[in-house]
């Protein structure tokens, strides 16, 4: 009995090994076809964002780097992720930073900026000791670009896009959310007592995880899903890469000679790194339609690989949420290796075409048109006076012309008369 069980387990194991081996093999061979990669990750482990007056252990001094900042293990996790990127994408990146190969963008928040830096240290950890600028440092800086929060149109839209706070308001006014809020009253009361700070709405509940979970479980899409400028950029960059590279395979570590100016517009890099938050990652997964409703853990990463197989371009999406495990994400209605055109058309509903316009709060557009109509009217009025004056002058001119015409007509009549008379004479 036990031996049969054991043999079955054995058989299953062999089968599993075979299947995994096969899967592994496929993945590995297809890595040779990768020409461009976009990785979006959440920052590493951090201290609490803030504390409450009565909460236990609420002193900021408990956290060596302060509230909301990365902890030591957060830096380590990012470094490990960087090393993992190196292992997987070594072929695409030289051992030393080369500006034409990699582009790094972060939200303008200390913990994401530092995550990107620690990650990059791991990515370039194999640098030649002879090229160190300081003997003690196995590190050389790599530029991490960012945009002030109020202007961010790629990774963190909340401050710039006026529609987002409106959407939050709308969600809070929704009967289902209102009912939930009512249901949560005892919790608010408890939290208010225990935390020493008035908690009266779901948003105020410090556990944002629960907040999002509740909304999602009730079939509410998270914010941002209306448009993902990041996905737009990823697809566009991949298309540029494809059109710019005729002999793709040989270009992977080719050195391009460019100056430091306007490097950020280069779409031909091999590796794009985006350092964001749990919300950034969740929104991105949501936009893809593959979100598992689990709050993205620290350093959770979404990876977009551009594969070229027999001259055809594909996008493969992976989710890497522990340093050891990686999941293939398959878009609904597409294969794991999704042809880039199909990828784009499937995602068309979430790819913004005109972000400025799509970020307008619906009511305000009407106001704008109203304003323009009023402005037009005012213009018209002010010109009315001028127009009437012009009309008067025109009137005068026409009269003068008429006068001249009549005058000459009269003269001509006279002359004609003369002629006729002459004609009569000759006949």
């Amino acid at each position: 009995m036990s031996s049969t069980a054991a043999s079955i387990i054995m058989a299953v194991n062999v089968l599993l090994c075979f299947v995994f081996g096969l899967a592994f093999g496929i993945e590995e061979s297809s890595l040779k076809n990768v020409h461009q990669v976009h990785v979006l990750f959440r920052h590493g482990d951090r201290a609490p964002v803030s504390s409450f007056p009565l909460a236990p252990h609420n002193s900021e001094s408990l956290w060596p780097n302060g509230f909301a900042q990365l902890t030591k293990s957060g830096l380590q996790r990012q470094q490990a992720l960087g090393r993992w990127f190196r292992k997987r994408y070594d072929r695409l990146l030289s051992r030393h930073w080369n500006a034409s190969q990699i582009s790094v963008t972060s939200t303008s928040v200390d913990r994401t900026l530092n995550s990107a830096q620690a990650n990059l240290q791991g990515l370039y950890a194999d640098m030649d000791p002879a090229r160190r600028f300081d003997d003690t440092l196995n590190w050389s800086p790599v530029p991490v670009r960012t945009t002030p929060m109020a202007e961010d149109r790629l990774l963190y839209l909340d401050d710039w896009c006026p529609r987002i706070p409106k959407e939050v308001e709308r969600l809070n006014d929704d009967p289902v959310v209102a009912a939930l809020t009512a249901q949560c009253a005892p919790l608010f009361k408890l939290l208010t007592e225990r935390l020493g700070e008035t908690v009266e709405s779901i948003e105020q509940v410090e556990f944002a995880h629960d907040y999002f979970q509740i909304l999602l479980d009730n079939g509410y899409a998270l914010l941002f899903t209306g448009f993902s400028p990041l996905l737009r950029k990823i697809v566009d960059d991949m298309k540029v890469k494809l059109t710019n590279a005729e002999n793709l395979p040989n270009r992977s570590i080719a050195q391009k000679h460019t100056s430091g100016e306007s490097e950020q517009t280069s779409s031909t890099a091999n590796f794009f790194m985006y350092s964001g938050h749990d919300t950034t990652v969740a929104a991105n997964l949501q936009a893809l339609g593959v979100y598992n409703h689990e709050n993205p853990p620290y350093a959770a990463t979404v990876i977009y690989e551009l594969h070229v197989v027999q001259g055809k371009a594909y996008v493969q999406v992976l989710y890497h949420n522990e340093s050891s495990s990686t999941h293939l994400l398959t878009l609904p209605d597409c294969d794991a290796l999704c042809p880039i055109d199909k990828f784009e058309s499937l995602l068309a509903p979430v790819l913004p075409t005109d972000l400025e316009k799509e970020c307008q709060v619906p009511g305000q557009e009407v106001a704008d048109t109203h304003d323009s109509v009023m402005a037009g009217l005012a213009n018209l009025l002010s010109y009315g006076v001028t127009v009437s004056a012009v009309l008067l002058v025109l009137n005068a001119l026409v009269s003068l012309t008429l006068l001249c015409l009549v005058w000459s007509w009269r003269r001509r009549l006279k002359n004609l008369q003369a002629y006729t008379l002459l004609a009569q004479d000759t006949s």
Partner: protein, 438 residues
């Protein structure tokens, strides 16, 4: 004359590319220090551009690419970070803390990397001493966040790309008669260049081309030669004799960055405003305001600041030089005052220089300092950065609208009267003719 000799000497030492770190003179800031804003130039870099036929333009010569920090450059800013630690250790915690030090950089690679390397130097000592505090035991480093804004959006530290009015003023300035005169005065150099670079410097009449010639070709060419010499590369044989003239062009180029008051407001003003705001914050909030603000900037930004506070010695800022705005609090009477220094990190020979507003003491009371620099603060930067278009020529009707409105009716009546008169006359004639015909 003596001063010129001195600068020549410095230039000569820069050619040797020798940096003597051991000779650093560490001067701790006075214990009265409350806050410091540090504006520093990036470290040594590769040339911004190479020219056609440049013997040193091969990609292998500059493996990091053009306009990027060299290994030497990273060392310089790292060292500047260590120097700042020595000077300001009284107001800095051993490891980075977000409420003490804020790093802001212009968006180019060399500034971003300089900011990161300088921060590494600022905190190296602690991680060197205590391996247990490192996140990677093998390395005395931990990242410090470097904030920046894309060049077109940067309204804080470098407005060269974001402020269109600034570009307009500069373009206007370069059409100035003095520029034309200067270009004429260096005609012999320009004709040599024209021959060697196979580019015409003289034949095109357009003044905008003169502007390009002036800035890009002469000033940048000097920089390219200088950088190549710093890196012990052999210049084209005709290049060396032209260096003094090209140096003149570069200095001229920098002077033009802040000639008019408006230029100072638009280019130096935003950063000056930020510095003053930081001081006021420290003055008002005290302990909870940051102690140190670091700004990674270009040589142009540094020059513009120095020109605006009237302390520019016509010497283009060297690599890793730092302008320090210190806020102090008097120990006895508690008054706040500002001290300014210019620290040249690249060449240890040149001592730290104390700066002073012409209208104030070296220890300038905070209120007085603000009073004296407030004329350079932009009121509404976005508004002031709009390109000035000449006002549309008002039409005759617009300017004389009242006259037209007054005269028009009389004119109309007059015309109508004439028409009436003529019409009646015609009628008369016609009748007469009819009468005649019959």
């Amino acid at each position: 004359m003596l001063f010129h000799l001195f600068t020549l000497f410095l230039a000569a030492s820069s050619c040797a590319g020798q940096i003597l770190y051991d000779e650093y003179i560490y001067t701790p800031a006075a214990p009265t220090l409350q806050h410091v804003s540090v504006l520093f130039r990036h470290g040594a870099r590769s040339p911004i551009s190479t020219y056609a036929l440049d013997p040193n333009s091969h990609p292998d010569v500059w493996p990091q690419g053009l306009g990027r920090l060299t290994r030497e450059g990273l060392k310089q800013v790292y060292q500047l970070g260590r120097w700042l630690r020595e000077r300001y250790s009284a107001v800095l915690s051993v490891a980075w803390r977000y409420n003490q030090v804020v790093v802001r950089s212009s968006a180019e690679d060399r500034e971003l990397n300089s900011a990161a390397a300088l921060s590494a130097g600022l905190y190296s000592e602690y991680f060197l001493r205590s391996p247990n505090e490192r996140f990677d035991e093998e390395m005395p480093w931990s990242p410090v966040p470097v904030h920046s804004a894309p060049p077109k959006m940067d309204m804080e530290i470098d407005t060269a790309d974001s402020c269109t009015r600034l570009q307009q003023i500069e373009a206007e300035l370069h059409q100035d008669a003095s520029v034309v005169k200067f270009l004429q005065s260096i005609n012999s150099t320009r004709s040599i260049l024209a021959a060697k670079l196979n580019q015409s410097f003289d034949t095109v009449q357009s003044l905008s081309f003169l502007y390009d010639t002036f800035r890009v070709e002469l000033s940048f060419l000097y920089d390219t030669f200088k950088v190549e010499k710093e890196n012990n590369l052999t210049l084209a044989d005709w290049a060396e004799p032209l260096m003094p003239t090209l140096d003149l062009a570069r200095r001229r180029d920098f002077q033009f960055l802040a000639v008019t008051h408006e230029q100072k407001v638009l280019s130096a003003g935003p950063l000056l405003q930020k510095i003053v705001n930081n001081m006021l914050l420290k003055h008002d909030i005290g302990l909870n305001a940051v102690n140190m603000s670091l700004f990674a900037v270009h040589d142009t930004n540094l020059a513009v600041q120095l020109i605006t506070i009237d302390n520019y010695d016509n010497r283009v800022p060297d690599y890793a030089t730092a302008l320090l705005y210190e806020l102090h609090r008097h120990e006895k009477n508690g008054t706040y005052f500002v001290k300014m220094y210019y620290h040249n990190n690249t060449y240890a020979q040149s001592p730290m220089r104390e700066l002073k507003l012409t209208t104030c003491d070296t220890e300038c009371l905070l209120d007085d300092f603000i009073y004296h620099v407030s004329e350079f603060m932009p009121k509404d930067l976005t508004e002031q950065c709009q390109i000035l278009t000449p006002p549309p020529q008002p039409s005759f009707l617009d300017t004389n609208r009242t006259a037209v409105i007054l005269i028009a009716p009389f004119f109309a009546i007059f015309v109508s009267a004439i028409i009436f008169a003529i019409a009646s006359k015609i009628r008369k004639c016609c009748c007469l003719r009819n009468y005649e015909l019959f």
